[in-house]
Subunit: 496 residues, 2 copies
């Protein structure tokens, strides 16, 4: 479309994106580099940007432009214009319901909560974090009330992360997944624990960095348009059209920790690098949802990185960096990266038990937002549930409800998208591997045809379709847990 | 003052500063981290911020507020209010003379010129940089015409960096300095060259970083409110009230290169960290001028870092990091860091010849802005002058007119402030050492009383006074080259 109102929306979007991308640098910098005393000022900066962006997006003329552009949009308009209008309208309706005061208060509260959470986790003291969590939950409830929702305030929050999702449907999907997982978990975790002593040794950080760089480059991550840095909590920020930054963390006694961090975040990063640059600042130029984003990270982490073909190729390379690995064979390495066990930390958990961690937090979040759980009751609720799901007693909150950063960012309704990601990853991987070239390349440790498949079917499609429709377009059918369950059975049960 | 108009100016200043400090992060990031393909987009971001800031600072109501606040300002108003009004008025008058288009065009041109310069220097091909330089010079001439000037457009540019400076006066001061320097240079560079073989060896970068960190911390640099990173061109960015970032560069065969980078930049950093936080966003909360800023960096680099007392304390520490230095004595080290020689690169030059490099670029800049030198004639003009000042033939422009980054940032009129900085540094150091505690501490390799002296007399005074008045307040008399000349004679000629 080239009508005036539409072009005004494109132009405004471009300007707002330039500024939002700068705010993304502020946020990235806070995680990676910022000196500690700068926290308060950074909070003011973040709040200002959130407020300014909100003000631009909710100017009355934006509503008029949307109406005018809609009236000019016909059945013949291209899919890009239709999708942009769909998303502009949706965001405008949601954003105009929030007062600027609430937007700024939320941004400011996030900055302080993030720092309180880090301290609380380090000391394993929930009480340090509790007042911040109370504040953020209350602000999120206020947001949800502003937006309105189908059945529960939690529905209103979900929409931020997964367009079209509902609490009822997610509860059903994750419940189904749980039912299928339980027998796999039971069998897979009952095996004799793997003896990791053959992997013991020193893994100098500089060498880990070099190895990770080599792997990420082979996956197709463009280092002229991205970087890898170090942060406590690994993440990926697609902060500009040609600037995608990953982080990971290093353990000198275990190269797998930083490697799998990079495989996961580079999966996100490839998605960001595959979005259409010309559409930057338009809704269609954005990733469509977290459930799709996470499908890309889990695809590379699990379906590529934990495969035997991966280690056929990369174990000899790793042994070049870490000579004591020369005595380890591919079979052993494959078993080392595919051990199921009941453990405390989600991000370090295996593929089989991972979704139980997600489910647990999803349930806690639902209780919080239906006023059935008070903030100071969270640790107890977490721990008792954890015991019943995992058979483990949580001794300290750092290994329990404080383990994840998300709540400190005011992010509620995000967690279930991790399981959607797992489901989507298996579903997409299975479809991609039905293409014989993709399959034979992957089996040979080559990734370009897999990446091209994702580029054309997922990355390059941006937000043109809603998440469910995107999956249907790419695979011919809706995603469901079947492929994931098959994959886990194949990988974890065939040997027993 | 608490009158409404004044408070509105304070509030606007605070908001604009928040945004400008974010732009400073963008700029820092471009030098230190940004992936190469992001250049174009970064240019758009920088231009947007420059334009937005300009727009805020030149809103018609700002002029009204200034007038109103001035009318309420009486002889009894405090010095802070008076200074803020003096600077607000001056900036408003200058900024309103520039169209937003010119401000944005300048910011965009800078980003591209910086990258072209880096390539041109790497390849030593002036022609790569020439079109960008032509553009920037033309934009600067346009700026100067907008602002107006006393005698030459160059006067208009100087004001950006050194309030109250004029081409005529600088020509005189630097001319006087040159006259005094020439015999010192002749004598100091005629000595037998120092044999550096005793310093030869490996200096692992991680160890250099640790040593530099220890030195900077001992100087008083607060690492909870700052960092040191790596960049091709060392610089310091005071990008937020508690966020001052230095950069340096590393040479594995020479630890002095990164160390003196840190000493210099930490001098700037201490000034930034010593500004009054409550005044952030007001003119008085800013450094007053580059001639004063550079006095701080040169003070720590030369008057502290090249002193015998410094090496009495730090040589044993350095030998802990770099064991082969254990066989070097303090006398040798002192001589190693105080060698005068005629060489090509300003930033690597010694104290004695440094100002000749400055003078040369100052002369070239004056010729450019009085239309006596065309852009493509610069290399030849540089080289022939260089030969007459230094007796050396410039073989490639990377070691000649392309060596410094400043022109690529559109910075003209900045260079003479380096010599002002040297003059001020010696003048302030001499006055500070007339305090017996400062002197005995410095002679013992302790820095807190020197830092406190600068904190109270320079840093904490911000822009309350104009540069010349600040020096008079601090020392009882105007700065002149005498102290610098004495210092150089003492250090370089006493042994002969």
């Amino acid at each position: 479309m080239s009508e005036a109102a539409y072009l005004k929306l494109v132009e405004l979007g471009r300007e707002v994106q330039l500024v939002a991308d700068t705010q993304a640098l502020l946020s990235w910098d806070q995680e990676v580099l910022m000196p500690s005393k700068s926290l308060e000022y950074r909070g003011e900066q973040m709040a200002w940007f959130s407020g300014w962006i909100h003000e631009q997006n909710t100017k009355p003329e934006v509503g008029e432009w949307i109406e005018e552009a809609e009236s000019q949009c016909s059945g013949d308009s291209d899919e890009v214009a239709k999708a942009n209008l769909r998303e502009w309208k949706h965001s405008f309706e949601r954003e105009t319901k929030l007062p600027r005061r609430l937007v700024e208060e939320f941004a400011l509260a996030q900055v302080h909560a993030k720092s309180a959470w880090a301290e609380a986790r380090a000391k394993s003291e929930f009480s340090i974090f509790a007042p911040h969590l109370t504040k953020l939950v209350s602000l999120c409830k206020e947001q949800a009330e502003c937006w309105g929702y189908l059945e529960t305030p939690y529905d209103g929050l979900l929409d931020k992360f997964e367009r079209g999702a509902s609490t009822v449907r997610l509860t059903e999907t994750l419940g189904d997944l749980r039912t299928s997982l339980i027998p796999i978990v039971e069998e897979a975790t009952s095996n004799e624990p793997f003896d990791r002593s053959c992997l013991e040794g020193q893994y100098p950080i500089e060498k880990q960095k070099a190895f990770n760089h080599e792997v990420a480059a082979a996956m197709g991550f463009d280092f002229d348009a991205g970087r890898i840095d170090t942060a406590v909590h690994p993440f990926c920020s697609g902060m500009a059209p040609h600037d995608t930054r990953l982080t990971t963390r290093y353990d000198e006694s275990d190269f797998l920790s930083s490697l799998f961090g990079v495989l996961h975040e580079a999966g996100h990063g490839l998605y960001e690098q595959g979005l259409t640059v010309e559409h930057r600042g338009q809704p269609v130029g954005n990733a469509v949802s977290l459930g799709i984003h996470e499908s890309q990270s889990r695809l590379w982490e699990n379906h590529v990185g934990r495969s035997r073909a991966f280690w056929d190729r990369w174990l000899p390379v790793a042994a070049g960096y870490f000579p004591h690995l020369a005595s380890v064979d591919v079979d052993t390495m494959y078993r080392a990266v595919n051990q199921a066990s009941l453990s405390y930390i989600r991000v370090e958990s295996d593929e089989v038990t991972y979704d139980l961690h997600v489910l647990l937090r999803f349930e806690i979040e639902k209780l919080i937002f239906s006023d059935q759980l008070k903030i100071d009751e969270i640790p107890e609720a977490w721990n008792s549930r954890f015991e019943s799901y995992f058979g483990l007693t949580v001794e300290d909150d750092a290994n329990g409800c404080l383990q994840d950063i998300h709540w400190s960012l005011g992010i509620f309704g995000y967690f279930p998208t991790y399981s959607l990601g797992n489901i989507n990853a298996a579903h997409l991987a299975s479809e991609a591997r039905s293409n014989s070239v993709v399959k034979s390349d992957m089996d040979a440790g080559e990734y370009s045809s897999l990446l091209n498949w994702m580029r054309s079917k997922i990355h390059g499609r941006g937000s043109i379709l809603m998440p469910d429709d995107l999956v249907i377009e790419a695979t011919g059918r809706p995603a469901n847990p079947t492929a994931l369950v098959h994959h886990l059975r194949d990988r974890y049960l065939t040997k027993s």
